[in-house]
């Protein structure tokens, strides 16, 4: 009885490695989706384990951070700045900022620490960095939903005037985060110096992200710094134009966002496809 079960196990073609060779484009796509899902599940477990709330920390971490800052700022700062609600300003600033920073800092040396995954031929560097970034983005996104609706229900924030602008802004923040994450995953793998510098870059780029100000608050001669060099500031402006409506003068360009985020992403994608020979296997 036992033996026959084993023979059955052996002969099942569903277990053969053969079926992962010579895939059609559609099958390859399905494989990639499956691998990325496996990586996300694995990453969640490795990072948060099963202790206390476990994987809920994916969302809990950004909630504590964004929510904490929102609560503190709401408490200590005047309720309105330049005629805008403080809580809404903090939320629309900190959520994109957290998403971007988490994606960036998690991308450093992403390949080296995950090199053991590359033992499996179905797993590629693109899958690894895509899964890693997706986990960050998803975590912050769910946290954002909870915080925003929490603030709206508690009356600290008015619902966005135009949701479509808010979503569009958020879309570009996510798009840009992926691109930057791909690029830094490559660069930090190639250069140890840069890896050390990422923390500093992350910190020094804070004002450049435009998370704390509206571009319109700046003196006109300095506005170009955020308007023309920072995709993130543009995306946040777009988001805020949706949240505050006609109460703000938003400085952004959809064309600019489309091009910069698109090019950043394409460069990141290109570099990711080139990284494999440079990854040191442990």
């Amino acid at each position: 009885m036992h033996l026959s079960k084993d023979v059955d196990f052996l002969q099942r073609s569903s277990r053969s490695a053969e079926r992962h060779a010579n895939l059609s484009l559609f099958q390859a796509f399905c494989t990639q989706v499956r691998v990325i899902f496996a990586l996300i599940m694995r990453e969640t477990l490795t990072r948060y384990g099963r202790e206390n709330i476990g994987f809920l920390w994916v969302v809990g971490e950004p909630i504590l951070f964004c929510g904490g800052v929102a609560v503190v700022w709401t408490a200590v700062r005047p309720s309105h700045e330049h005629g805008l609600q403080m809580t809404a300003m903090v939320i629309t600033g900190y959520i994109p900022l957290t998403m971007f920073r988490h994606a960036l800092s998690r991308s450093t040396k992403a390949y080296e620490v995950n090199s053991s995954l590359l033992f499996h031929k179905l797993v590629t560097p693109l899958d690894i960095i895509f899964a890693r970034t997706t986990l960050e983005v998803l975590g912050v996104l769910i946290a954002a939903i909870i915080i925003t609706f929490g603030a709206i229900i508690l009356g600290y924030m008015a619902p966005p005037v135009d949701w479509s602008f808010t979503y569009a802004g958020l879309f570009f923040v996510i798009f840009f985060s992926y691109g930057v994450s791909f690029i830094f995953a490559y660069l930090t793998e190639r250069s140890d110096t840069l890896e050390k510098a990422v923390g500093v870059i992350n910190y020094l780029s804070l004002p450049w992200t435009g998370a704390f100000v509206m571009i319109d608050w700046l003196p006109p001669q300095y506005r170009w710094i955020l308007e023309d060099t920072s995709p993130l500031a543009n995306a946040i402006e777009l988001m805020r134009s949706g949240v505050f409506g006609s109460k703000v003068v938003a400085h952004y360009s959809l064309m600019y966002l489309f091009y910069t985020c698109g090019i950043t992403f394409l460069i990141g994608l290109y570099l990711t496809l080139k990284i494999r020979p440079h990854i040191n296997m442990s």
């Binding site: 084993d6 490695a17 499996h120 031929k121 296997m281």
Partner: protein, 217 residues
Amino acid sequence: MIGLRCVDLTKCYNLGHKKNTVLDKVNFSVKKGEKLGILGRNGAGKSTLIKVIGGVEPITSGNIEYNMTVSWPLAFGGAFQGSLSGHDNLRFICRVYDLDYNETLDYVQGFAQLGKQFYDPVKTYSSGMHARLAFALSLAIEFDCYLIDEVIMVGDARFAQRCEDELFGKRADRTLLIVSHNMDFMRQVCDRAVLLHNKKIHESSSVDEAIYSYFSL
């Protein structure tokens, strides 16, 4: 029938500005079903060769032609996430290779017999337990060729018996590439052996001859 063929296979590592050549235009082929032993001193590049064939390390130049599916290298380190439990690693493999979870769990539990420790982090495993898990998980996927780097020799008697049944019994038709310093084992299992020395593969007419030239290095 040729299972895989290495053509002018070269592998270099870049250490800072120094280039370290490990394999220099290696040529050899493996027939389907063959049990090939790879001998060589420490640092000769045996593990590197196995990793290159397994697709883990990129090739510097040359080519490997595959005519069969090749497993990942079964070795110490690599392939598993130490902070995850054996069970989590199994789930990951199931997802990546699209295997049925319950069926695989049954098989791996039965083969590896790790009991409760199956749910402990892999980094707490002894080398024998590690080997058992590595074997069970890779045998859960039916590869045509298994790459075995040392890991087979550390198991206890029962594990050796189970390997005997599963690997050399039921899967007698599979190709094996084995790296080991245990010459008795090599003599018993392999039907051909090559010696890796000075970045080159040296063929021999028999396993005994290869072992002889290994000892006379």
